[in-house]
């Protein structure tokens, strides 16, 4: 909304502050001026306003002028009108508010103007419109618009000769049709409030006028309407018909019931400047019950004690003397239009010198429907006094209680950052296709539904669902990087996933990892597989924060972390796995399945992991237990074996663990050789086809004594025998 400083000043004389200072002073009192534009010499400034939704009374020049008058403690000019003498009317113009519409139309004023001349606007209206950049239409239409911007109350001018009989304010008949001012043809519902005549609807009340009764160049006689409509009803119709108009904006925020006759007179006065005369007196129909809950509300009590209790200390306070005095309260609220009477707090008690006891009975202004309670008046006092005149004080602090999951979350985050994974945040939404493709079905939540959660009003087709998995979001981020030639990416996201039903949504913490890049081979893995094993070690590392670390020599398979080659369909079979903790799935990882990669046009393989943090966080963080370090020398023994490809490392490790040699403290696969087809020398042929060579390192150590050569040879012999039993051949 735009405001002209000159127009505003026409209502308050004697403001010494210049326009920029005025803008600043208004802003500091919550009447926010967002922009100040110089309109040239003598024209003042145009203020771009941002008025909060509760202050409909300040969405016009007069309302803002009232604020300025309050700030500077100056008088506000009254809105006087001078109409030509009315011609006598044979009968008063007929206005009826239908019984069912009584609560929705609290007041209806109507004035008949005869023999008007429809011409372009001149004078002040034309001048202000030019400065505001508003398009003038005609004196009658502009008058209504001018009054709206001037003092805020919406009005409407009908071509009187198009009205059949008189006005009836009623609910529409379901299916009733009405052509509006914007040329659109609307079908009305039974709870749309309409202004009708004795045969047809003329306008949607408080929203938009009708086409057939609009002012045209041929209009001779006018009916000026200024009425009050119920906010909820106006809002419902406005939204239903998609018509957000200046009038509906104000009515749905609560208009001033007492403004109707004033607005009506102001409009009439402007139209009659070009000729014509009123006929009869103003017709003014008031619904008393609505008046009682709007303009004529009961006074409310305001005690100075409450003002001080809520607002606290000001910079102007003197020792033992608050600057928030009864005089200040009275001055501020009176200037805003309240009527204050000092109420005796207790009939028997004499008025004490302590002003704390002061209680006012406050009659509220009809234009401030946002003021309803004592606290609202406390706010007005603070607002006009100036927020920045309050002191900075601090309440006492309480002990801080750590969030139960904070330590676990922060441990996971710190570990992933240390492992070289950067933190990312992806969209909370997913497409239906991705939802179906990536939903994790192995969740352990039989008791609750775990369907997909759809949005009623999604932002786009790609965002119809709340994400049931972090994987699609991670893929989008990997693709974003690859599409920008960033080819090495390591990302993680700790986020919420959504499953359940429309009645009960389950939000679970989840973790995704994304990895792509040209990884070098390691001594155990070739380059093509390195990424899968990197993800495996990241998952092991994370789990080691919570559960006992994974030990190749552990014999109790069920208690440890295990890896199964089964994985969801979005991962490439044979190049993916599921991590099981205590037999239950907790993570899956591997290479993205080919069809998904193709669908996303990813130029290189990408690797993903998702981990169920909900399950992980059910475990306590592991508390490390130290053991005595042996004082005796450790002995390292390397073994080189050839195995058939079918013999997995786990089998080998278990066979060695089964030997139960307590002094065998560490078992590590050091290197794997496969016969490379491109072997540079025949000597490189280390294993026949279908076999691989494994370099295995064992560390023996006793906590009791130095190991003897004969025990070491015996253990080596047993170990070789055990591995030979698996089909291994020792290489020399």
């Amino acid at each position: 909304m735009n405001i002209l400083s000159n127009w505003l000043r026409s209502y308050v004389h004697g403001i010494t502050a210049d326009d920029r200072q005025l803008a600043e002073d208004l802003t500091l009192r919550g009447i926010a001026v967002e922009g100040v534009h110089d309109l040239g010499l003598g024209n003042g400034h145009l203020f771009e306003m941002d008025i909060t939704t509760n202050r409909v009374d300040a969405m016009n020049h007069y309302g803002i002028a009232r604020e300025a008058a309050t700030i500077y403690n100056l008088p506000l000019a009254p809105l006087d009108t001078a109409l030509p003498a009315a011609q006598p009317a044979p009968n008063p113009f007929s206005v009826q508010i239908a019984p069912e519409a009584q609560s929705l139309c609290g007041r209806f004023t109507a004035r008949v103007l005869r023999n008007v001349t429809i011409t372009p606007s001149t004078g002040q209206v034309a001048g202000f419109f030019a400065l505001l950049g508003s398009k003038p239409i005609s004196n009658a239409v502009d008058a209504s618009n001018f009054v709206l911007q001037g003092m805020g109350h919406p009005t409407h001018a009908f071509d009187l000769d198009k009205i059949d009989g008189g006005i009836v304010v009623r609910l529409a008949h379901k299916g009733e049709r009405l052509k509006l001012l914007d040329g659109s043809e609307r079908t009305l519902e039974a709870d749309d409030l309409v202004i009708a005549d004795h045969t047809k609807a003329l306008s949607i009340a408080g929203v938009m006028g009708g086409w057939d009764s609009m002012i045209t160049a041929e209009t001779k006689n006018i009916l000026v309407e200024a009425a009050w409509f119920d906010p909820v009803s106006i809002r419902r119709s406005s939204r239903r018909h998609g018509l957000h108009t200046d009038a509906s904006h104000r009515f749905e925020r609560g208009a001033d019931l007492n403004a109707c006759p004033v607005a009506n007179a102001l409009v009439a006065e402007l139209i009659l400047q070009s000729g014509g005369a009123p006929e009869g007196e103003l017709v003014d129909v008031i619904v008393p019950s609505v008046a009682a809950r709007t303009a004529n509300r009961h006074p409310i009590a305001l005690s100075l004690r409450q003002v001080r209790r809520h607002l606290g200390t000001t910079l102007d306070d003197q020792p033992g003397q608050s600057a928030l005095t009864a005089d200040l309260v009275r001055q501020v609220l009176t200037a805003l239009g309240c009527t204050l009477t000092e109420a005796a707090t207790n009939g028997l008690q004499p008025i004490t010198s302590n002003q704390q006891q002061t209680t006012f009975s406050v009659q509220l202004p009809s234009w401030r429907l946002d003021l309803e309670r004592e606290i609202d008046l406390v706010e007005e006092v603070a607002r006009v006094y100036g927020y920045n005149r309050f002191a900075n004080t601090l309440p006492t602090a309480l002990p801080v209680i750590a969030h139960p999951l904070a330590a676990a979350e922060s441990a996971v985050r710190a570990r992933l950052l240390a492992l070289g994974y950067s933190e990312a945040i992806s969209s909370s939404f997913a497409s239906e296709a991705d939802g179906a493709a990536f939903v994790t079905t192995n969740r352990n939540q039989q008791s609750t539904p775990h369907g997909l959660i759809a949005l009623e009003n999604p932002l786009s087709d790609e965002a119809r669902l709340l994400r049931p998995s972090l994987a699609p979001g991670m893929l989008t981020m990997l693709a974003h990087n690859l599409n920008r030639d960033v080819r090495e990416v390591r990302l993680f996201e700790q986020g919420t996933i959504f499953t359940g039903s429309a009645e009960q949504v389950v939000e679970s913490p989840s973790l995704s990892l994304g990895l792509t890049g040209d990884l070098p081979p390691t001594r155990l893995h070739n380059a093509k597989d390195a990424a899968v094993f990197e993800l495996k070690s990241v998952i092991e590392s994370l789990l080691s924060l919570f559960a006992a670390s994974v030990d190749a020599l552990s014999t109790s398979a069920a208690s440890a972390l295990a890896f199964s080659p089964d994985a969801p369909a979005w991962l490439q079979p044979g190049r993916s796995a599921t991590a099981l903790l205590n037999g239950a799935p907790i993570a899956c990882f591997g290479e993205l399945v080919a069809n998904q990669r193709e669908a996303r046009k990813l130029r290189q393989p990408v690797f993903l992991a998702v981990l169920d943090l909900d399950a992980l966080y059910r475990l306590p963080l592991r508390r490390a237990a130290a053991r005595e370090l042996s004082r005796f020398q450790a002995v390292e023994r390397d073994f080189s074996f050839t195995f058939a490809d079918a013999v997995q490392w786990r089998t080998i490790a278990q066979a060695i663990a089964a030997l139960a040699i307590p002094e065998l403290t560490r078992l590590t696969p050091v290197e794997i050789f496969r016969d490379a087809k491109t072997a540079s020398a025949p000597a490189a042929s280390v294993a026949p086809a279908g076999h691989y060579a494994l370099l295995l390192r064992c560390v023996f150590q006793s906590t009791q004594r130095t190991l003897r050569e004969d025990e070491l040879s015996e253990w080596s012999t047993r170990l070789i025998a055990a591995l030979s039993a698996l089909g291994g051949t020792i290489r020399t």
Partner: protein, 369 residues
């Protein structure tokens, strides 16, 4: 190497100091590579033809007896200087020249650690400031009911205040009572209600979290964003306490020279309500591009908890305990505040496009390593 031996005409202390200063400069000026260290040593310290020997021989020969000691001291100092220079040259790694050595100018090989997300880093910093002020973290769901997100916060159904928060609604809610309808929370404020229902005052909570609105994405809007909310409820909590708390928090976040400014504003769940600006952290209030030449940056909204909110809470608490009265607005008061984390992080780091936070773009993240 036919260098002249400098003449020493006077043996008084100032003349000695000047003469040795000249020699010290000569040593210093003679930069050399490690390869030339031996030549340098021979030049200065050679036992027979070393320059130091030649000069000391020449000067000592003609020195009066009482000047011999000061001369000797100064020769020793000069010798030490030469030895230090030599030691440094030998210890210094060979430059790119040595064939057998490393090319230490090549990049190192450790994989860089991951980068904390700038947004979450900012969010954690804000939360830490409030932890220090005695606020405990509270969290709430992202899918909320209409009751917690709106009704209990004094946004009645069909109220225009709801227009300011375009809401993403969950499908399949039409048949449910309006208060139970599920939606994506549009702010972290529902956690205020949840916390108060669960717990009697005093309350000091800080609520970081993700929120969603039905806003089309552009440079400054995102349908997903983050807020940090705070709530303080106790006896005797005042508007000046709110001011002091936020002034302190902004100074802790942005530096002690930052000033705060409070403006009246409107939120349905606070009364009085305020917007808070801080003096521009880039131009200290002088006016610059980042603060749109105003000298101020708007950062958060806040206010005293509206009594209607306390009433909603009491109503819920009475379903569990009909005598519940801990949130009687005549006895307690409180304040709440909320800030957009994206906006603060964008101001802190000069980020112009909010979408970069959600792109996972390594080039963007690497700037925050």
């Amino acid at each position: 190497m036919n260098e002249t031996i400098p003449q020493l005409l006077n043996y008084d202390e100032p003349s000695l100091d000047a003469a040795f200063a000249t020699l010290a400069d000569e040593v210093r000026a003679e930069t050399f590579s490690p390869r030339d260290a031996e030549a340098f040593r021979l030049h200065w310290l050679g036992r027979k033809q070393g320059r130091l020997k030649l000069i000391s021989d020449a000067w000592l020969k003609s020195a009066p007896a009482d000047a011999r000691k000061p001369l000797g001291i100064r020769f020793n100092q000069l010798k030490q200087q030469i030895e230090v220079a030599l030691a440094a040259a030998v210890a210094a790694p060979p430059a790119a020249s040595a064939k057998a050595g490393l090319d230490i100018t090549l990049p190192g090989s450790v994989r860089a650690p991951g980068i904390p997300h700038p947004l979450l880093k900012t969010m954690n910093e804000i939360v830490a400031v409030f932890h220090d002020l005695g606020y405990s973290t509270a969290l709430g769901p992202q899918v909320e009911s209409d009751f917690y997100n709106f009704e209990a916060l004094n946004f009645p159904p069909n109220h225009p205040a709801r227009d300011t928060q375009d809401t993403l609604l969950l499908a399949g809610q039409q048949a449910r009572p309006s208060r139970d309808r599920l939606l994506m929370r549009t702010h972290t404020s529902p956690v205020q209600i949840r916390s108060m229902i669960a717990q009697a005052p005093p309350i000091r909570i800080v609520v970081p979290g993700k929120v969603h609105r039905n806003d089309a994405a552009d440079a400054t809007h995102s349908p997903v964003f983050h807020q940090v909310e705070g709530l303080c409820v106790d006896t005797g909590i005042t508007f000046s306490d709110l001011k002091g708390t936020l002034d302190h928090a902004m100074k802790a976040l942005f530096g002690s020279s930052v000033k705060t400014r409070f403006f009246p504003s409107f939120f349905p769940f606070t009364e009085p309500s305020a917007d808070v600006q801080i003096s521009c952290i880039f131009c200290a209030g002088a006016g610059c591009r980042r603060c749109k030449h105003s000298g101020w940056i708007e950062l958060l909204g806040c206010g005293m908890v509206d009594p209607t909110v306390f009433s909603s809470v009491t109503e819920e608490r009475r379903k569990l305990n009909p005598a519940a009265d801990a949130y009687n607005p005549a006895k307690i008061s409180g304040f709440a505040f909320g800030m957009g984390v994206e906006r603060i992080a964008m101001v802190q780091h000069g980020i112009s496009d909010i979408g970069q936070f959600y792109s996972g773009d390594m080039r963007f993240l690497e700037q925050f390593a």
